[in-house]
């Protein structure tokens, strides 16, 4: 593995609790994420992984607890603000803009960085046109990076699943985020597609220094690419540490393999 040096904590959740109706999705969960590390959240179905990701990205607001990001503690934040402050995400079930091409999908990720007014953009004034070109250049780099040059003009709905997942990643990368949240980036993929995706994730982490928080089911994948792992079960944190620590943790083994009662 490369010489990635995790830095100071960039993101921390403390004492997070959230219930949906009578179902307790998360109970008093705390952990931190350090700069430039690959942090995995694992756990069986219904453990509360996606809920946790949704809280970090501002989709849900925790009933109790706080999220500290870049030294700023907050309870409520909407997804739009999260994106503006450098948190990008991908989705478990694909949420691409189906009627748009690969290029347009990824260009949408640049919306926040467009400085010229909406009207100027619409009328394609000089500065707005130049700005569009500059963003287009950056997006082309992302497209090259993800090796989807050939599909630039394809409607995303026509791409095979594995490539759609890649476009989803590209769209998030277009924000040039500090923290990238990946919700099961490898779910439903073939072994080959998984290997490709792993490579992209590690490259993003290496080349751009992006901090990565990912949810994943496939244990072997998680253990290979993560620096540290949080384990959730029934909304509670039952393990936290390096892949080796977690692998030897009895509570984790019980949660995954079942335990005699």
């Amino acid at each position: 593995m490369s010489a990635r040096v995790p830095g100071a904590p960039i993101l921390a959740v403390e004492g997070i609790s959230l219930s949906f109706g009578g179902v307790r999705a998360l109970a008093d969960v705390s952990f931190d994420v350090r700069e430039r590390e690959v942090r995995a959240i694992i756990g069986p179905n219904g453990a509360g992984k996606s809920t946790l990701l949704n809280i970090i990205s501002g989709v849900y607001w925790p009933a109790r607890g706080t999220v500290t990001y870049l030294g700023q503690r907050r309870g409520r934040m909407d997804p739009h603000t999260a994106a503006r402050r450098g948190i990008a995400r991908t989705f478990q079930t694909l949420a691409l803009f189906k009627g748009m091409t690969v290029l347009d999908n990824i260009m949408t990720g640049r919306t926040l960085m467009m400085r010229s007014g909406l009207l100027a953009q619409a009328l394609r004034f000089g500065p707005a046109e130049r700005e569009e070109t500059a963003h287009r250049r950056r997006v082309e780099q992302i497209i090259d990076f993800l090796e989807i040059e050939a599909h630039r003009r394809t409607l995303v709905g026509r791409l095979p699943y594995g490539l759609q997942k890649r476009v989803d990643l590209g769209r998030a990368l277009a924000l040039e985020p500090k923290v990238l949240l990946l919700d099961e980036p490898m779910a439903g993929m073939s072994v080959e597609e998984k290997q490709d995706m792993c490579r992209f994730i590690l490259d993003v982490n290496d080349e751009f220094g992006t901090t990565i928080v990912l949810i994943e089911h496939d244990m072997s994948v998680v253990m290979d690419i993560s620096d540290r792992v949080v384990v959730l079960d029934h909304g509670q944190k039952i393990g936290d540490g390096t892949p080796d620590d977690v692998r030897g943790n009895q509570a984790v083994i019980d949660a995954y393999l079942g335990v005699k009662h």
């Binding site: 990205s57 989709v59 909407d78 997804p79 739009h80 999260a82 994106a83 503006r84 990008a88 995400r89 989705f91 949420a95 691409l96 803009f97 189906k98 009627g99 748009m100 347009d104 260009m107 949408t108 990720g109 640049r110 919306t111 926040l112 467009m114 909406l118 953009q121 619409a122 009328l123 394609r124 707005a128 569009e132 709905g157 026509r158 769209r171 998030a172 277009a174 924000l175």
Partner: protein, 336 residues
């Protein structure tokens, strides 16, 4: 291949439409001048339908909401315009009405759309139905329920063209000419607005997936205000043209619902589709009314009349059977 199979009904429908349009010339004893007049009348009505349909398409494209209130917005805009122009000069009244429509967009976004974000489409449809009824009531309450006039200041005398080509020439009204030019300008403007520009992209992104768009930092609320304001402005243009022709009255809101078959025929997500759909329905309806109606009466002994009430829907149904997403609608490929 799916495309090949799909082509046969499409070609058949195209031939049928072509035959229907040309039939009066071949079979009937129509003079060329009169035929052209009917055709132009149809195109003109089509432009009016298209203007309302545009409003539907804009909002659907950008928010996935089928805005039932578009007709009411046309009525409300026309009413405001008519009453304000009684006391203000035309340009000022226009600016004031535009401001009212923008304000209306902001209020709708804040009070109706924002609280209902991520609700099912049916809920939002019901909400727009509510807005529609509310606007109709508000319009009458504030502006009154009589028939009002909007005077565009165009010459009332129709012009005679092509006198050399056809016997009797072709009559065209200045109002129609102005309306057609306005509609063309508006469509060009909107096409530029949507095509490739970052704004257009953000609008389409919001339409496709609110949540994903939000996660990318697309300002959802602002986008919605913009779209509803633009739809309001389109409603205003439609209302002015329509109102100047028919007079501003309550029934405008109902007439506007005639643009429903237009949007389904043209495709809910397509600006050019709204125009093409409007023209097809407008011409089809007029032709059916003028040429098919009498045939039904003479040959089949029917009472006749009323053909303009249902023809648009039958035509739209035929098109939808062949192309469910409409003429220019986006084809969504759904995986099962």
């Amino acid at each position: 291949m799916r495309a090949r199979v799909g082509n046969i009904p499409a070609v058949a429908l195209g031939l049928l439409c072509g035959a229907g349009v040309l039939a009066p010339l071949v079979v009937g004893d129509t003079s060329g001048g009169f035929y052209i007049e009917v055709l132009l009348g149809g195109l003109m009505a089509g432009v009016l339908y298209a203007l309302v349909a545009l409003g539907f398409v804009l909002i659907y494209k950008a928010s996935g909401i089928f805005n039932f209130a578009q007709g009411a917005m046309v009525l409300f805009a026309a009413l405001s315009m008519a009453r304000l122009s009684e006391v203000l000069p035309f340009p000022l009244a226009l600016a004031a009405t535009l401001a009212i429509m923008v304000l209306l967009a902001m209020v709708i976004e804040r009070l109706v759309l924002r609280p209902l974000v991520n609700q099912p489409a049916v809920t939002l449809l019901m909400a727009t139905l509510g807005i529609s009824l509310f606007l109709e009531g508000l319009g009458q309450m504030v502006w009154g329920s009589d028939i009002y006039a909007i005077d565009l200041g165009t010459p009332k005398e129709p012009v005679m063209v092509l006198e050399d080509t056809f016997e009797g020439g072709v009559l065209m009204s200045w109002e129609d000419i102005v309306a057609a030019i306005t509609a063309a300008a508006l469509v060009t403007l909107l096409a530029v607005f949507f095509r490739g520009s970052a704004t257009g992209r953000a609008l389409r992104a919001v339409a496709d997936d609110h949540q994903a768009a939000q996660s990318l930092g697309v300002p959802l609320h602002r986008i919605w205000v913009i779209v509803w304001a633009v739809a309001g402005a389109v409603a205003l243009v439609g209302g002015i043209i329509w109102g100047s022709k028919l007079g501003v009255q309550f029934s405008l809101s109902r007439v506007a619902l005639k643009s429903l078959p237009v949007v389904f025929l043209g495709g809910l997500t397509s600006v050019p589709g709204a125009i093409a759909g409007g023209l097809i329905i407008g011409v089809g309806e007029k032709m059916a009314e003028v040429f098919l109606g009498p045939v039904l009466v003479e040959r089949f002994g029917l009472a006749g009349g009323g053909i303009e009430n249902w023809f648009a829907y039958v035509l739209a149904l035929l098109f939808i059977l062949v192309r469910p997403e409409g003429l220019f609608g986006e084809r969504h490929i759904d995986r099962v």
